[in-house]
């Protein structure tokens, strides 16, 4: 960026706080253009993202395998602090990335798994099958993606998993209002 002239900070003081205003240092990157300007940075970016899509299935497989490895560590050693963290991070990454990679139902299943890890009072008391079903569902969704009816089946599967997980979480958190509130609160991300 071009070198800025010395600017001024305006500080307005009140009883218990200050309001600090500075001249917008980024104003010089705002260009006024005519309505006829056809530049479409969002359209360009969407095309570029579509251009990456050939790699998405491979990336998704890598993330699913990472999740399976984290789960294997839990099955072997139980829920240690590190195992729990790695399982959560692996699931959390899939939750955030899967829809971008074209696997929204895997993201939904990963979200359900994240909720179990975050809100179960004692992870050792979570039915082992519940977590295993989540892991298996994500792997199946990723592997079977190219088959017919997969999207519909994947969506149904992830919704069923979420239903079972939520039923469990509501039951074990009945005396923990903060967790209940978080479990029942709507997501800020629009539904699939």
């Amino acid at each position: 960026m071009a070198k800025e002239k010395p600017g001024t900070l305006q500080i307005k003081s009140f009883g218990d706080h200050h309001v600090i205003t500075q001249p917008n240092p980024l104003r010089k990157v705002l260009l006024r253009v005519p309505e006829s300007d056809l530049d479409d940075p969002v359209g360009r970016a969407e095309k570029a993202l579509a251009g990456l899509s050939g790699e998405f299935k491979n990336w998704m497989a890598i993330e699913a395998d990472r999740l399976s490895a984290a789960h294997a560590a839990v099955l072997r050693d139980g829920f240690t602090l590190d195992n729990r963290e790695e399982l959560f991070r692996a699931a959390h990454d899939i939750k955030g990335d899967a829809a971008t990679f074209g696997f929204p139902s895997a993201g939904a299943a990963a979200d359900s798994l994240c909720r179990i890890i975050e809100h179960a009072p004692d992870l050792d008391q979570v039915p082992a099958d519940l977590i295993t079903h989540h892991i298996n569902a994500i792997q199946a969704i990723v592997r079977e993606r190219t088959k017919l009816d997969t999207a519909v089946m994947a969506s149904k599967l992830s919704k069923q998993l979420r239903g079972v997980a939520d039923e469990f979480l509501l039951k074990v958190n009945r005396d923990r209002p903060e967790h209940l509130e978080a479990i029942l609160a709507p997501s800020i991300v629009p539904a699939e």
Binding site: G7, L9, R27, K28, L30, A99, A185
Partner: protein
């Protein structure tokens, strides 16, 4: 109509997931950005923040050891050598409303829940470029004004009445950060 000249912006992105960094880099380059620096953890991002003096920071939340929230808190230290005023966009898989509040209270400027979209990212960047908010300093908070809207029906104490304006001549924040003052 306004357009952003991305060629003049310097970005720092921080995410421990290499796939997400690749996606962010692709989107920013497609917007027209040429200077995009990457960090895979909060500690490295903090070092790069001091070194490269980015105009905008885009950070993930959940990262091992030193996460995005801590990065935002460190950047927002008003006594730090670096620029505490840079816009911070938090891009995260966390989707609960309470997380938005926590991020806001850590001094994050904009919050973008994954899955990422080109339009969502562009809009957040446009917000911080075209509509920067003043900063608030209290005993427990330093960061962008957390008030987004004016509530005409608010009934209650008003803390911003009166007050004294003080104009301080200072070198620009960019020069201050680069000179290490």
């Amino acid at each position: 109509m306004y357009r952003i000249d991305f060629n003049k912006l310097r970005f720092l992105i921080c995410d421990d997931n290499p796939h997400m960094r690749r996606i962010l880099r692709t989107l920013l380059h497609s917007f027209g950005a040429r200077e995009v620096y990457e960090a895979e953890d909060g500690a490295t991002a903090l070092e790069m923040y001091s070194h490269y003096v980015p105009d905008i920071v885009i950070t993930d939340w959940a990262m091992p050891i030193f996460d995005g929230l801590e990065l935002a808190q460190m950047i927002r230290q008003p006594e730090s050598k670096g620029n505490p005023y840079a816009p911070i966009i938090m891009l995260t898989g966390h989707s609960e409303k309470r997380r938005v509040t926590v991020a806001r209270d850590a001094g994050v400027t904009e919050f973008l829940a994954k899955p990422i979209s080109a339009k969502g990212l562009y809009q957040r960047i446009l917000n911080v470029v075209a509509s920067p908010r003043p900063f608030i300093k209290t005993k427990t908070y330093f960061g962008p004004d957390r008030r987004r809207n004016t509530n005409n029906t608010y009934i209650g104490p008003e803390r911003r009445v009166g007050g004294e304006m003080e104009v301080m001549q200072q070198p620009s924040l960019l020069d201050k950060a680069r000179s290490g003052i």
